[in-house]
């Protein structure tokens, strides 16, 4: 009896996990310490956001990617923000002391490299020893990462060093620079004094050479990994205009832009983003056009990013945008080099990130996000027509469900009698209130959209259409929704697809639910309140210092390329809110031939 009770208690009470698994991921040292040392310490730590800034303040040298695993094995850096900062400071002087510098002794360098990369456990890293074919043979070794470096180039380099080397042996200590000058045929070769430089280059596919008796290493550019070829744009399809899209390779991307903007004034500046794992960010702008303050601000923000790891330009956007709490996207993300080129020529700044097939363009206004670039390639009447349709569909996607709700719940006198009776008649069999009906349908539509994206392969593209059709039809037949609502939601969905900016379409989709709520609660009055609030929020927004609703938010020079797309030869000024260094695109009529003034004469003479 007593046993039964005991067993019962045992069943319903908590028992620690029996050690069935061989491995349990235990709390690390700092977590355990924090738990033991009591809650007051923890509370103080978490209550101070400045503590996290402490980590950011340390110089980037402390976060030597190679030293991380070697120096503090098994220690998490997540929790003890201040302690880690202290530890980093203590460790900081080391590189200057000489340990971080390349030594003149080959065996020391070799040991250091082995330590940094965890050789021989780390099999991706190849360390090859060889002897130079110089007069007194010189011992050397090279380091590269298998798969990142190009084999053919390396073979050629080794050939040059080992076989064809006939130069008299250099004096001790100067071998590296001499070899660089006389023997290595690689196009991009540089001297590296510290291991940090060496490791950064090797991590990015370069090959490092160490020579006996030389206090510096040679880093030769041998990047050569598999990469995707430049293809057609996937998310920004246009009928006319260039059909190239960015790829994941940063250098290819900058080249794609530079191929369109053939100007020596096109500057590309590189920054390293990421404290633990570094990515390259490129800032591109036209030196004689982009406002220097703007360029400086972009550079300041990017170099100020102390994020752990940034893989995509979309992440970078979130670190550098002005207002992370506003729904509206404050940068333009595009995958088309021609759009970036056009933006650069207006005085904007583009940011690219290694590994990301997209580019950030800043600053942008809301109107810019409704452009695709295609309008400019088309004749102006067609472009204007496209823009008007797009602007109209923007409002449709934003307001249509809300307006329908407020009309059918509050303002029934506003619609023609026949239409109202049709709405009412179709709704007679639907058991839900209109708002439930609407939310149900909107949710289903979002579901179809999301599922269509996630379902792999060929099914994915068909499930969208088929799902929507069948769902709508069946829902109507089952008297769950009224047919007029299906039409409405479908139109709204189509309208939101016609917004070219993916991010803006997202914000419109979210705002739409807000308007559905306001329309159902307060009718047109609510929608007016909502619009008013949204306009205030949006007008308050800035994208890298440029007002988000310019040129209409603050009135500036109107520009002929905002809502309409007037003829190109009339667009003689650059967008005013960008404040470029050169405001004027063309001082006279760009069609110089019209009056027979310039074009004709120059052509003859």
């Amino acid at each position: 009896m007593k046993n039964i009770l005991k067993n019962l208690v045992k069943i319903i009470s908590y028992q620690p996990n029996p050690d069935r698994e061989s491995f349990v991921l235990r709390e690390n040292e700092y977590d355990r310490k924090a738990m033991q040392s009591g809650k007051k310490d923890e509370g103080r730590d978490s209550g101070r956001p400045g503590a996290s800034g402490g980590n950011g303040d340390q110089p980037p040298g402390a976060d030597d990617p190679g030293s991380g695993p070697a120096v503090q094995p098994g220690v998490s850096r997540r929790r003890p923000l201040r302690k880690a900062a202290k530890a980093g400071q203590k460790k900081d002087p080391d590189p200057e002391d000489g340990e971080g510098r390349v030594s003149s002794r080959l065996d020391r360098n070799r040991k250091k490299i082995e330590e940094i990369y965890g050789l021989p456990a780390n099999r991706d890293i190849v360390l090859r020893e060889f002897t130079l074919g110089t007069d007194p043979p010189l011992k050397a070794f090279m380091v590269y990462i298998d798969g990142l470096a190009d084999r053919a180039t390396q073979v050629r380099l080794l050939q040059d060093l080992m076989i064809f080397a006939g130069v008299p042996g250099p004096g001790a200590g100067k071998s590296a620079s001499l070899i660089m000058k006389k023997m290595l045929p690689g196009s991009q070769v540089k001297l590296a004094e510290t291991f940090e430089e060496v490791v950064y280059a090797v991590n990015y596919g370069d090959t490092a050479f160490f020579f006996d008796g030389s206090g510096s290493a040679l880093v030769v550019e041998t990047k050569g990994w598999d990469k995707r070829a430049v293809g057609r744009p996937e998310t920004e399809q246009t009928v006319t205009g260039p059909q190239e899209a960015f790829v994941e390779n940063l250098r290819s991307n900058t080249a794609l832009i530079r191929r369109i903007v053939r100007s020596e004034k096109l500057y590309t500046e590189f920054f390293q983003v990421g404290t633990r794992i570094k990515s390259d960010a490129a800032v591109m702008y036209l030196k004689d056009l982009a406002n220097p303050d703007l360029v400086a601000e972009v550079k300041r923000r990017i170099s100020g990013v102390k994020a752990d790891f940034v893989t995509d330009v979309g992440m970078l956007e979130q670190y550098i945008e002005d207002n992370p709490y506003n729904l509206n996207p404050q940068t333009m993300i595009t995958e088309k080099p021609d759009r970036v080129a056009a933006a650069l020529a207006e005085g904007r700044v583009a940011v690219l990130l290694s590994g990301s097939p997209f580019s950030l363009v800043v600053p942008v206004s809301m109107y810019t996000q409704l452009h695709t670039g295609e309008e400019t390639y088309l004749r102006w009447q067609y472009g204007t027509f496209l823009r008007l349709i797009r602007n109209f569909s923007f409002y449709l996607a934003l307001l249509l469900p809300g307006i329908y709700l407020s009309v059918s719940l509050y303002h029934q006198e506003m619609v023609p009698t026949e239409l109202l009776l049709a709405i009412a008649g179709n709704r007679e069999r639907v058991p839900f209130p209109t708002i439930i009906e609407m939310l149900l349908m909107e949710f289903s539509f979002e579901l179809v959209r999301e599922a269509g994206l996630r379902i792999p392969g060929i099914i994915g593209s068909t499930i969208g259409i088929v799902g929507a059709l069948i769902l709508g039809q069946a829902a109507v037949q089952a008297n769950i929704v009224s047919p007029i609502l299906v039409v409405l939601v479908a139109v709204t969905g189509l309208a939101s697809f016609s917004i070219p900016s993916f991010s803006l379409a997202f914000s419109v989709r979210i705002y739409r639910f807000f308007y559905i709520l306001m329309g159902a609660l307060l009718g047109f009055y609510g929608i007016t309140i909502g619009l008013f609030m949204q306009i205030l929020l949006t007008a308050n927004l800035k994208s890298f210092g440029m007002p988000y609703l310019a040129p209409s938010g603050p009135r500036t020079h109107p520009g002929l390329d905002v809502i309409y797309r007037l003829p190109l030869f009339l667009q003689r000024r650059r967008p005013d809110p960008l404040n470029p260094l050169d405001d004027v695109r063309a001082s006279g009529d760009p069609r110089g031939w019209v009056d027979g003034k310039e074009g004709g004469h120059e052509g003859q003479g």
């Binding site: 059918s408 029934q412 009698t417 026949e418 709405i423 008649g425 007679e428 639907v430 209109t434 307060l522």
Partner: protein, 413 residues
């Protein structure tokens, strides 16, 4: 704390102003037309014509339990007796579980009997009522309004509200009936400057009962007398009011001249006697070239009305084959036509002065501009001055279009 403040300042207005006025479409009975008949004592019989949305939207297939025919009827008439139209709402709601809504009521039909006793007590409360549409139409029905609403089941249109809309649109083509919106009617009742008219409606008596129209007249009938299908609703002629009481009727032909003087006529066929070949009919389309100019002089003892009408008729049918396209003959026709229109207008004005003593043309609006203050104008007593007024009518006729024939062939007989 700050967040809570913002939250409450946003949410409290929502709750206070909020969702209490919301009504689903399936909670409401949409009244399309209302009829008013005289009831026992001081009461009136109010008839609501309620739309059946299921039938109109075409979703009423097999829905009814047994009475499938009843479920498919697009309209439902409910009558009740109440002292004021508003009171009838609650009484109807004891029968039908849906809120009565006048938001889409497009017609208010008053019986002639009720109209002759005065409509003030029904129009004014409706005007004050929140849901009444100022753009609804007002009709006066010869006979019972309830019978008219029962009979008026439009065949071509889905709902009577569309029928009323289209009737006023098509009125542009014949001008045989005035177009009076609820708000105009209310204004005419309260204003001394213009007396009210309302289109006359009735159910047709049949093809045999009608008498043929006189020469030079088209549609010289009152509603109900027009020879046509039996039992069809007819919208022709006008009821004339003095203040809120109906004092007489105008036939369709007279109404057309009323519309001409008030500038509401767009066009309309007219068949006149051929001036050069008496006995032969001559068809014309009367087109009002521009709005008539009206001047009212108050310097003499009696008001002097001066009306200039501008007509540009188009010749439609000449059965005598006389070449009226010839400029000389055209002037003959123009002169003849001007005399005809002038005499008709004069007859009509005289009739309103002597028989009705009611300024249905709104001449008072022009007279009103001669006064500086409203008090002076009210002291003047236009309603008493109008019957004594002298009317001077000038009709300017210019035939500009002669149809597709420039010179008729003599038909060989």
């Amino acid at each position: 704390m700050r967040g809570a403040k913002i939250f409450f300042s946003l949410v409290v207005p929502l709750i206070l102003a909020g969702c209490w006025g919301s009504r689903e479409t399936d909670e409401i009975a949409y009244v399309l037309a209302m009829g008013f008949d005289k009831g026992p004592g001081k009461n009136i019989i109010v008839t609501f014509q309620i739309a059946n949305p299921k039938s109109i939207a075409g979703t009423a297939t097999g829905g009814g339990t047994g009475g499938g025919g009843a479920a498919a009827r697009p309209l439902l008439n409910i009558s009740t007796i109440a002292p004021l139209p508003i009171g009838a709402f609650n009484l109807v709601n004891t029968e039908r579980g849906r809120e009565i809504s006048l938001l889409h009521a497009t017609a208010y039909v008053f019986s002639e009997e009720l109209a002759r006793e005065g409509l003030h007590d029904y129009i004014v409360p409706l005007q004050r009522y929140r849901e009444t549409r100022g753009t609804a139409y007002v009709f006066v029905c010869r006979g019972k309004a309830r019978d008219f609403l029962d009979k008026n089941q439009p065949v071509l249109e889905l709902s009577p509200s569309k029928q009323y809309e289209l009737l006023t649109k098509v009125n542009r083509l014949h001008a045989l009936s005035p177009v009076v919106r609820f708000h105009d009617f209310y204004n005419s009742i309260i204003s001394p400057a213009k007396e009210a008219v309302a289109p006359l409606v009735a159910v047709g008596a049949g093809l045999e009962t009608g008498r043929p129209p006189g020469p030079g007249k088209l549609g010289d009938y009152l509603a109900g007398d027009l020879p046509s299908n039996k039992g069809e609703p007819q919208f022709i002629g006008a009821a004339v009011f003095r203040r809120d009481k109906m004092v007489g009727t105008l036939t369709g032909d007279e109404t057309r001249y009323l519309n001409m003087i008030t500038g509401n006529m767009d066009r309309g066929f007219l068949i006149v006697d051929d001036p050069l070949a008496p006995g032969k009919p001559l068809g014309l389309t009367l087109i009002q070239a521009r709005r008539p100019t009206v001047r009212v002089g108050l310097n003499e003892e009696t008001p002097a009305l001066k009306v200039d009408l501008y007509l540009e008729p188009e010749i439609v049918g000449v059965s005598s084959d006389i070449n009226y396209e010839d400029p000389r003959l055209k002037t003959v026709l123009e002169k003849e036509l001007a005399e005809l229109v002038e005499s008709r207008c004069r007859e009509l004005i005289t009739r309103t002065q002597q028989e009705f003593r009611s300024d249905i043309f709104g001449f008072g609006r022009h007279a009103r501009t001669k006064f500086l203050t409203r008090d002076r104008w009210m002291e003047f007593r236009w309603d008493e001055a109008y019957p004594l007024a002298r009317a001077d009518i000038n009709v300017h006729v210019k035939i500009r279009r002669t149809g597709l024939i420039l010179k008729p062939h003599k038909v060989h007989r």
